[in-house]
């Protein structure tokens, strides 16, 4: 799977270099600056991940979020996703690591979709712009969408059998 990412990145780079060397160089600078800015936060996330994975036995993770957790795992993931605020560059690597620990795609999809679209902590801000009623409806709709996405993901990846 990684090989596609390398091919796409290489192709994008080649096209970019042909179009403008200056812009490509600027892009490299942006990428490097951001990478080193993010690195400390990223390493701390990995440390927390390594520590909690070591002390939480595999059975506990399996029971809470694993393949046999069913609707329960999706429910936990959606609640956590709705409450937490986490930038994508932390959330997706974390999900990738959890995937390696046997957490199903379905559960991770419930987490990431609610994380991106349902905001309990951003509620006060949202209410200022949209008003209370619309804010509640919007978040409700997005939660429903996240659950539908999770179910379809489960079906596509063969995690739910009909």
């Amino acid at each position: 799977m990684h090989i596609y990412l390398y091919i796409i990145t290489a192709a994008a780079l080649v096209v970019s270099v042909i179009a403008s060397r200056k812009k490509t160089l600027a892009a490299f600078k942006i990428a490097a600056t951001r990478f080193f800015k993010v690195l400390p936060v990223f390493l701390v996330m990995l440390i927390l991940f390594a520590v909690s994975i070591t002390f939480l036995p595999n059975e506990v993770i399996g029971k809470l979020l694993g393949r046999n957790s069913g609707p329960f795992g999706v429910a936990i993931a959606s609640v956590v996703g709705s409450i937490t605020l986490m930038p994508g560059f932390i959330a997706f690597p974390l999900c990738g690591a959890l995937l390696g620990k046997g957490v199903p795609y379905m559960v991770l999809s419930a987490f990431t979709t609610t994380l991106m679209n349902v905001g309990i902590l951003t509620y006060p801000l949202e209410r200022r712009y949209l008003g209370r009623g619309v804010t509640l409806v919007r978040n409700g709709v997005c939660l429903a969408v996240a659950l539908i996405v999770a179910v379809v993901t489960g079906l596509v990846f063969g995690e739910i059998r009909l």
Partner: protein, 174 residues
């Protein structure tokens, strides 16, 4: 916390962890060694992906100018308005908290309520830099399923909410 203090705290944590892992390795402290092993193997996996994701996102930032998208926004009526909403959301950086003020100003500039709601929804689900990150770590199939399911649903919800609220004389405030 100030960014600088946050950085110092994070660096201290990392240094502490490095010492802990080193001592565990030398003293053959089992749980410590296990944590260290999990850390390095996960880090190795991530480092295979992370640089590519950052380079792709930076290339996107350099080549796609948001002003161009905003200029076209609101001109398109009907389905075109929604397509521009997807494009604009794709170039939005940051989360919902950036989307609300922008949605407000778009609406003030004449974007329909339905298109404005669609923009808010899309800025959660299809920001391109974030999607690149997602596909790198979760696989393109995962991302494709998520987009294929959520874009139509968000659009339908936005159209319905837009119609209903326009009738009720609803307005986005600041």
């Amino acid at each position: 916390m100030k960014p600088r203090r946050k950085l110092i705290v994070n660096l201290a944590l990392i240094a502490g962890f490095a010492v802990f892992a080193g001592v565990s390795l030398m003293a053959d402290f089992k749980p410590g060694r296990q944590i260290g092993a999990t850390f390095t193997s996960t880090l190795w996996e991530m480092m295979k992906l992370l640089p590519c994701a950052f380079v792709l996102i930076a290339l996107f930032d350099v080549w796609v100018k948001r002003e161009m998208v905003i200029r076209h926004f609101g001109h398109g009526s009907g389905i075109r308005g929604y397509l521009w909403a997807i494009l604009l959301a794709g170039t939005t950086i940051g989360g919902l908290y950036v989307a609300f003020p922008l949605a407000y100003s778009l609406h003030k500039k004449g974007a329909k309520l339905g298109v404005t709601f669609a923009y808010i929804g899309f800025s959660g689900i299809c920001r391109i830099p974030m999607t690149l990150f997602e596909a790198s770590f979760m696989g393109a199939k995962f991302t494709a399923v998520r987009l294929a399911v959520s874009i139509p649903l968000i659009t339908i919800a936005a159209v319905l909410m837009g119609r209903y609220l326009t009738k009720r004389g609803y307005d986005i405030t600041e």
